[in-house]
């Protein structure tokens, strides 16, 4: 019983730590993105709230929290309020399976540096991404607005298409690691990260991850120029904030998954594990900002063509080649 209580408290401590880091990072990723976008466009970016705009996320948070939470007359009240919760919670839940360090041994007991090491961890991550489609589709539908509906439909179609490429691109990694567990996948990369042996899978996963996060150049669901703000056009206050939070947590989730699958997770020389994971996540986020500063938005049919006619066949070919190599050697 004593041991059980201790284990419970350790678990709670890990959850608190991870949530704190993830939410803080999400808030500051917004600032980093705005600052970097400013620099890319030869501007300064936010610099009024505190030095270098360091208090900007706090100001944004206060603003979102105290704004009025408008629910439209024509909206489906329950679903309208549920949708942002789905998006944000599905993104946050994925961090339950991300390993962030070497297991610590205290008093003969091994404490794994992961909240939950389930043996179908990879499938769990994909289940959560596939469920977060509901947030987008329902948010768009429940708003009772044509722009939101169009955004929601686009979002659902895009995310279903790219989930397939995302899942298929990761199959070679599973074949090489021999396990669905993310801890095992990281351990399998002790010698070298999988990006060296699986560059094609990495590229497919990277592009699909961009599409899955609904950011430029794949931001069809919220295309400002055509749909206003797409599926969250009718949201205000903290409900909009939850969509926003979900997007930035999703960036971190995909960064963490790329790190785990291709870059060796928390492994790296000199620095401790969690720091390496953080560096990889932030690096991925900065590359996403760079892409946002460079590329224009895809047209809808181009998006679908890229997903179905290029990425999925390439992923299938990659699986076959990897299979041949594994059997041959």
């Amino acid at each position: 019983m004593w041991l059980w209580t201790l284990g419970y408290f350790i678990l709670m401590a890990k959850i608190t730590l991870v949530l704190t880091v993830v939410l803080l990072l999400a808030a500051y990723l917004v600032l980093v993105e705005r600052k970097l976008l400013g620099r890319f466009q030869a501007r300064i970016g936010p610099n009024r709230a505190g030095i270098f705009g360091i208090l900007q996320p706090i100001a944004d948070g206060i603003k979102l929290l105290v704004k009025e939470d408008v629910v439209l007359d024509g909206a489906e009240r329950g679903i309208f309020q549920l949708a942002p919760v789905i998006v944000a919670s599905m993104a946050l839940l994925t961090f339950a399976i991300i390993p962030f360090g070497k297991p610590i041994i205290i008093g003969g007991h091994e404490i794994p540096m992961v909240i939950s090491d389930i043996n179908v961890g990879l499938l769990y991550a994909f289940a959560l991404t596939s469920l977060s489609v509901y947030g987008v589709a329902l948010g768009g539908w429940a708003s009772n607005s044509k722009y939101a509906l169009l955004g929601g439909i686009r979002g659902a179609a895009q995310m279903i298409s790219y989930e397939l490429a995302l899942g298929l691109s990761i199959v070679p990694v599973v074949m090489m690691a021999g396990s669905f567990s993310l801890v095992e996948i990281v351990n399998a990369q002790a010698k070298w990260p999988f990006i060296i042996v699986q560059p094609l899978a990495f590229i497919i996963f990277f592009i699909s991850a961009l599409a899955e996060s609904k950011r430029i150049p794949f931001d069809m669901p919220e295309a400002e120029a055509e749909l206003g703000a797409g599926y969250h056009i009718e949201y205000s206050g903290m409900r909009f904030g939850l969509f926003f939070l979900g997007e930035y947590v999703q960036m971190q989730v995909l960064g963490a998954l790329i790190a785990v699958f291709f870059l060796g997770g928390w492994r790296g020389p000199f620095l401790p594990g969690p720091i390496w994971l953080l560096i990889k996540i932030i690096g991925f986020s900065i590359i996403m900002v760079w892409i946002r500063a460079t590329l224009p938005r895809f047209r809808y049919d181009q998006l679908m063509t890229l997903g179905w006619k290029i990425l999925i066949p390439a992923a299938l070919i990659n699986i076959v080649i990897t299979g041949v190599f594994i059997v041959a050697f």
Binding site: R39, F40, A42, R43, I44, W290, T294
Partner: protein, 190 residues
């Protein structure tokens, strides 16, 4: 059959290389901008000096000899597209016309500059000073005392009464610039 496949392959390679080059150029351009540094001028700390002809706050200027230029001809009021200028004309003992009261409602003014173009005496002028917003809209109504300044504005030398040929205390008939003495028409008789 074989050559066609080879050509098709080469064409595809060409397209691929073009795509790669386009991507490289795009990302290189944005990265170059990242290190170029910002061009931003931060407004309240640094105020860029505006050109003298930029149109903002309206003033009523005075002659080089210090008297007010406005002759209350109502032209600015007539031309104003939003009807924000109003005045009452009067005539002084010296013979000069002036505005008894002169009022501009800056809550309405669109700073189009038509009043400046219409003014025959260069009295009404627009200045580059633009930080004139107020919390209370009634404070945006400027009276003559708020508008008058004791310099000539953009037109340094022009003095309407020196040229106009109107008899005032300062100049009688034929005493103005480029004006000849009046001729007694009877002396012209053949």
């Amino acid at each position: 059959m074989q050559p066609i496949i080879v050509i098709g392959f080469l064409n595809n390679m060409k397209v691929l290389i073009e795509i790669a080059y386009a991507l490289y150029m795009g990302f290189y351009t944005t990265l170059k901008n990242l290190f170029r540094g910002p061009f931003t001028e931060e407004y309240p700390e640094y105020k860029r000096p505006l050109p003298a002809r930029s149109r903002a706050q309206i003033i009523l200027t005075s002659d080089p000899d210090g008297q007010e230029r406005c002759v209350a001809c109502y032209l600015c009021s007539a031309v104003c597209p939003v009807d924000c200028i109003s005045m009452q004309a009067a005539e002084a003992d010296s013979g000069r016309r002036y505005a008894k009261w002169f009022r501009i409602n800056f809550g309405r003014c669109i700073f189009c500059g038509l009043c400046e173009e219409a003014c025959p005496t260069s009295a009404i002028q627009l200045t580059p000073f633009f930080e004139n917003s107020k919390r209370d809209i009634l404070k945006m109504v400027y009276e003559k005392a708020d508008l008058q300044v004791d310099h000539c504005g953009k037109d340094k030398n022009y003095n309407f009464y020196a040229y106009a040929g109107i008899v005032t205390k300062s100049a009688g008939k034929g005493e103005h610039v480029k004006e000849e003495k009046p001729v007694d028409v009877r002396t012209n008789m053949p």
